[in-house]
């Protein structure tokens, strides 16, 4: 137990809560980087996935992109980005954004594509224009899956941002990588606690957002949907 006592002492030491290497700054770096990468990925991926789903084209490509994404190790993407653009924040941002795109494309494609054709016909019969059908019918019904894709990507990005300490970027991964390199297992363990807590918090928070964005009409079914976990990059 003395090891866990040392880890607790690490957290209680005020030195670890100050300055650029302190927990608040590392946490902020991690959250900003993950948030920016997920946001940019969503801005790129959502129009593609939604357009493909709306027009019913390119289905195989939209589905396969996340299978291919799963097969590419995120560790390799990060190191490749480092070889191309150097050390620090740029390779981390590029790698994380690339990794976040596939799940969002696939989920938004499936979400829009799987909207019941009868519902779309009914909307058309009510005199809705195509644009109105997309924004007032298809997108609200697709929201649960679209949000699930964004959540998958965000959790993956938070995880992979941990590895970005390897390319000399900051974030909470620094504690793990530095602790490991210095054989300071207390620091490493404390870093793991912080990283795991942030990943779990991301998962739960975006799960809550997902639940709140589900249109009321879709909420009646009781059992929580249990699709397979979609991605585990790092």
């Amino acid at each position: 137990m003395s090891f866990l006592v040392k880890v607790s002492a690490w957290f209680l030491d005020p030195v670890h809560w100050q300055g650029s290497a302190g927990v608040p700054n590392r946490l902020l770096e991690h959250v900003l980087m993950a948030g920016a990468a997920t946001l940019v990925a969503a801005l790129i991926a959502l129009p593609i996935g939604i357009a493909l789903g709306h027009f019913g084209r390119g289905g195989n490509a939209a589905i396969n992109i996340s299978n291919v994404g799963r097969a590419i190790p995120s560790f390799a993407v990060l190191v490749l980005a480092f070889e191309v653009v150097g050390i620090g924040a740029p390779p981390a941002f590029i790698a994380l954004t690339l990794l976040a795109i596939p799940p969002i494309v696939t989920n938004s494609y499936v979400g829009v594509k799987e909207v019941d054709p009868d519902v779309k016909d009914a909307a058309r019969g009510m005199g809705m224009r195509e644009r109105k059908i997309l924004f007032a019918v298809e997108l609200p019904l697709a929201v649960p899956l679209i949000m699930a894709g964004i959540r998958t990507s965000a959790v993956q990005v938070v995880a992979t941002a941990t590895l970005a300490a390897l390319v000399a970027w900051g974030g909470l991964g620094r504690y793990i990588i530095d602790g490991f390199a210095q054989q300071d297992y207390v620091q490493m363990f404390a870093g793991a606690v912080l990283v795991a807590a942030l990943a779990v918090a991301t998962e739960l928070a975006l799960g809550a957002v997902e639940f709140m964005l589900v249109p009321r009409g879709l909420r009646e079914s009781g059992a929580a949907p249990a699709g397979p976990p979609q991605a585990k990059a790092a």
Binding site: A71, V155, M188, A192, A196, K232
Partner: protein, 219 residues
């Protein structure tokens, strides 16, 4: 030859490929071994666990909820939790990898069993099947496509995660990627990445082929 900070480092250096073919083979073999153990041990644990959750309805949402949350824990953090106790060992790598495959496979087992039509279960009961026989001869075969889909996802995911175990001294092909990073040398990085992607593709297609052969009803 000093390769560090070599501005002319090409993406592929042929002489390195020729001199290290044996290393690539060893790394590939280790990668396959780490993956196989993770998926097989994961399956041995996940199948009974999935059946148990399916039988005890009250366990379903809590267990699937908790596994979903555990799944979001980054692998590097999980390894960091284990190292103080199990050290920089093969065991540490496998505990982490097996853990993630369990989370995928339990979910797919439960979902597959739940998708068995109630009519089919009634018919089996009407024909006098006892619960165990019904499970083994009716429910599990019908859940097999979903379980198999889980095995494919788990295999491809594990092949990717194995590369991260290079950071704790294992890693298979991940070792080549790490070497590329540490020496700022592109050739091992490219080789490790390409072989890892190819391994995932071959494994996925191979498993899909096996699925078609042993489960013609899942087409």
């Amino acid at each position: 030859m000093n390769l560090f900070l070599d501005a002319t480092d090409p993406w592929i250096r042929v002489s390195y490929l020729q001199n290290h073919a044996a290393d690539f083979e060893a790394d590939l073999a280790e990668h396959v071994e780490l993956t196989l153990i993770a998926v097989l041990v994961g399956l041995l644990i996940a199948l009974p666990l999935g059946v148990l959750i399916y039988r005890r309805r009250g366990l379903r949402n809590p267990v699937l909820g908790v596994t979903g949350v555990l799944y979001s824990i980054p692998s590097l953090a999980l390894f960091a939790f284990l190292i103080p106790y199990t050290g920089l060992t093969y065991v540490t790598a496998e505990i982490g990898l097996v853990g993630y495959t369990i989370l995928i496979l339990v979910r797919n087992t439960v979902v597959g069993l739940e998708a068995v039509p109630a009519d089919v279960r009634d018919a089996a009961r009407g024909m006098g099947y006892r619960p165990l026989k019904q499970l083994l001869w009716v429910e599990l075969p019908l859940a097999l496509p979903s379980i198999f889909a889980g095995v494919r996802i788990a295999t491809v995911t594990t092949i990717g995660l194995v590369t991260v175990t290079a950071l704790i001294g294992e890693g298979g092909l991940g070792r080549l990627i790490l070497e590329g990073l540490i020496r700022d040398f592109k050739t091992p990085l490219v080789v490790g990445t390409v072989l890892s992607i190819l391994l995932a593709a071959v494994a996925d297609l191979g498993l899909a082929g096996i699925q078609r052969l042993v489960m013609p009803w899942s087409r």
